[in-house]
Amino acid sequence: MATISDPPERGFRLSQLIFDTRYRSMTIQVVAMVLIGLLLSWLISNTIHNLEALGKDFNFGFLSQPAGYDINQQLIDYNNQMTHGRAALVGILNTLLVAVLGCALATVLGVIAGVLRLSNNWVVSRLTAVYVEGFRNVPLLLWIVLIFALMTESMPSPRDFRGEDGSSMLLGESVAITNRGVYIPNVVFSRSLGGNEIAAPEPEAPAAAATPGTNMAGTYGASRIATGGAGVQTGQNDTAAGSGSASGDGAAGGAEVGEVIPTSSFWDWLLIITVLIAGGIGAKFLGKRAARIQEATGKRPMTLPLQIAAILVPLIVVLVGLGASLDKPELGGFNFDGGVHLRNSLIALWLALSLYTGAFIAEIVRGGILAISNGQTEAAYALGLRPGTTMNLVILPQALRVIIPPLISQFLNLTKNSSLAIAVGYMDVRSTLGGITINQTGRELEGMLLLGLFYLVLSLLISGVMNVYNSSVKLKER
């Protein structure tokens, strides 16, 4: 009787490593592993030999040596006697600054353009299409260089603001757009947490002193971006005479002998941001409480005024407590003094990055909205929702799921593209750590390694954070 049985057991043969699918993947992996290992060890041994041949070693000691170069824009204290590590940190903060500013503006621009491109209005949608296609299809580098040239070539120089028929400042004499950058008012505090200086009696400033004065304002002006840095602004006393400062009670320029000079420090801003965040959390809590009450009783208590108050009242209390006032830029000497000086390099980089990335985000937003089927809108209308509510409660929550993942990669792209700062001389991490430091110390390997690591960690962080957000808005299925 013929039996159907398993084929006789045979021993393991070497050929099975190649022909038997059970073992083949193992073979392939081992071979791949060996090849990769060989490649890596070859690269590393080459590097070691090359470093030996050059007489170099591999250490990061250069980070604690004095840097010896100036950085024209700093968010934290820095001078050229500080270390390369500190310089790198300044660069990192500059990169982060432009990345954050850029991401925010690009999102706003992109959402507006994306929605407008779907508009029924023919002119508007065509105009937006021109914007999107124009910015998407031309290299970012060209936009950066072009906007920089626009800023430096076509804007009036500070001296044009003198006289009657000169250029005028915007927004109630507080914002000046010049070919050296944009000057905007700074918020200063007369009871700063970082401590205020008292205006010392000073000899009459001779006219010639204006030049060093403005030079100082030039270098210090940079330190006052965004966080206010450490604005020790005694150099400005010679500029303000009789400028009838609109902010009145003792802006930096109008300080009289013995009066407190308002300034701003990192701690002031930390306090303000903390209060703002706390207010935001409070407002959110109020909203949740309202939702609970609504679920329990069917009536929703009035929350909007309370929420606004929760954010604004503590902020106002803190601002008054610190004695906040606006320090407006004033024309003095050959340049503007006071206020915050946004350099052309920052402006050009920021605008170009935002406009460029905004064009991509516009397409993402458009695609996301189009991905939601028309039936959803019709269903919402059938329920009696109005167009605004439909957009907020029905379309956008669904569209966000489609929009967020590509939006994350656009933020990543913007952050990485900020390394193009090299084109306009903005001192980001690539030009401090990856540029001047490498040139001065000759530590290409270590410098580039740190630079790469910084960007890698930053990218992974951004995508990690955004992925957490993404998973919170994504479709919850059973």
Binding site: I18, F19, S25, I28, Q29, A32, M33, I36, L43, N46, T47, H49, N50, L51, A53, L116, S119, N120, N121, W122, V123, V124, L127, E133, G134, R136, N137, V138, P139, L140, L141, L142, V145, L146, A149, E153, L412, K416, N417, S419, L420, I422, A423, R430, G434, I438, E444, L445, M448, L451, G452, Y455, L456, S459, L460
Partner: protein
């Protein structure tokens, strides 16, 4: 009986009314304008605002561009001509800089008498890509496509023709082994041989063979050094090589990332993430500063080759992610069907999975290519003369010191034409390949 009328007059119309035109506001241009431009207050506001934007932009741009000066030999002459024609403070473009310097922007410092070579190469390139891009082109031209890389290299860099021919020979050997030896020695062995033998040939035989042939029959063009290439020639060389090389590499990486094999999977993931996490400009600096550290002492190869390698790796990582999306979008049934047919891994990928996955990922792939082409401008930072680099060197000359917008407009327009047409081609391809009924 009742007050019902026995003979009610039928109230039926017996003559048709004439057809009438719809009201004037409901037809033609008027209706369109009412619906599309002035349907609500917000719409009216937007329309007026955008019309104002268009007017503001064009009223500055058009006179500047159209009244531009084309015939001048330097900027001051240009300004003098403008003042003479349109008054002292007229702001007009000085296109003369393009009229004089366009060869430089296009070819860099390629020798003038040899311009025919890049132009011929460009035509050859068009002929080579035509059958790939459009299925209506005769299939026979694919032979041109296969041979084009070698011919293009020869045309642009010059040197002996025998070098490229000897290199092609390696592929011929590989093909011969696959065709003639496979039935005798088995598939696996022939595949291994078809890879190993050509590599050995290229490493040890190719060079001497080319030299020997060249000494017998010299067939050479005047060599041109890489340093002489610049402008759009450079951008196109880097862009096209990057595109051609990164697609297969990207697909392999995507397959590696989807693979079940732990080591291969993790290696692909690490490669993709590391490459994508760091800006291209840092990789380019790595290529120009550090590559010598990683290679055996004394190795020194061309900067442009290094750039091409880096650009290829960079865009391959992006393409890998795009293709991975396409692979993930395929229904599982397709994979199972391929397995059920008994196809092995490569056959199922080649015949069933990849064609569908690539079709899905066409927009993403083309977007990556567009990005790659635009990113070729970054090579200016490591000392290669791309169009933007050349524009600054033109500005540095005494004749044209102070010219900005004209050069930017020209460069931007050229890039726009390249990239926009790539984008349109991708739309065309999407439409052509759309098989589902929608």
């Amino acid at each position: 009986m009742s007050d019902t009328h026995a003979q009610t007059v039928p109230f039926v119309r017996d003559t048709m009314l004439d057809q009438q035109d719809p009201p004037l506001t409901q037809i033609g241009a008027v209706k369109w304008i009412r619906e599309n431009l002035f349907s609500s207050w917000l719409n009216i506001l937007l329309t007026l605002l955008s019309l104002w934007v268009i007017y503001a932009a064009l009223s500055h741009l058009l006179p500047w561009a159209l009244r531009g000066i084309w015939d001048a030999s330097n900027l001051s002459e240009c300004r003098a001509l403008a003042a003479e024609r349109y008054g002292a403070d007229a702001s007009v473009a000085c296109w003369a800089v393009l009229a004089e310097r366009w060869p430089q922007l296009v070819f860099g410092f390629f020798p003038k008498e040899l311009y025919w070579r890049p132009i011929l190469a460009f035509l050859l390139f068009l002929a080579a890509v035509a059958p790939v891009l459009f299925s209506s082109v005769p299939r026979k031209i694919l032979w041109v496509t296969a041979l084009a890389p070698f011919l293009l290299f020869w045309l642009i860099w010059g040197g002996s023709l025998w070098g490229p021919i000897a290199a092609v020979l390696g592929f011929v050997i590989s093909w011969a082994i696959m065709t003639y030896a496979a039935p005798k020695i088995g598939a696996l062995l022939s595949v291994i041989l078809a890879i190993v033998v050509p590599v050995v040939y290229w490493l040890f035989v190719c060079g001497p063979l080319a030299d020997a042939l060249a000494s017998v029959v010299p067939l050479a063009l005047q060599p041109v050094a890489t340093q002489k290439m610049g402008g759009f020639l450079l951008a196109t060389i880097i862009g096209v090589s990057g595109i051609v090389l990164s697609l297969p590499l990207g697909i392999l990486l995507a397959l590696g990332r989807q693979s079940d094999m732990f080591i291969i999977n993790k290696f692909s993931v690490a490669f993709i993430e590391i490459i994508r996490g760091v800006p291209l400009i840092v990789w380019l600096f790595t290529a120009s500063l550090l590559l010598n550290y990683f290679l055996p002492p004394g190795t020194n190869f061309d900067l442009m080759l290094r750039v091409i390698i880096m650009v290829t790796l960079f865009s391959a990582a992006y393409i890998a992610e795009v293709v991975r999306g396409g692979l993930a979008a395929l229904p599982k049934g397709q994979y199972e069907a391929a397995d059920a047919l008994g196809l092995d891994y490569w056959k199922s990928m080649r015949l069933i999975i990849l064609p569908q996955a690539l079709k899905i990922s066409i927009p993403g792939i083309v977007n990556t290519f567009i990005g790659l082409f635009k990113d070729t401008t970054l090579v200016v930072f490591i000392g290669l003369l791309d169009p933007i680099g050349l524009s600054s060197s033109i500005r540095a000359s005494t004749d044209w010191n102070g010219v900005y917008w004209e050069l930017f407009v020209f460069i931007g327009l050229c890039f726009f034409i390249f990239c926009f047409s790539m984008g349109r081609y991708s739309l065309f391809l999407e439409k052509k390949l759309r098989r589902e009924h929608r």
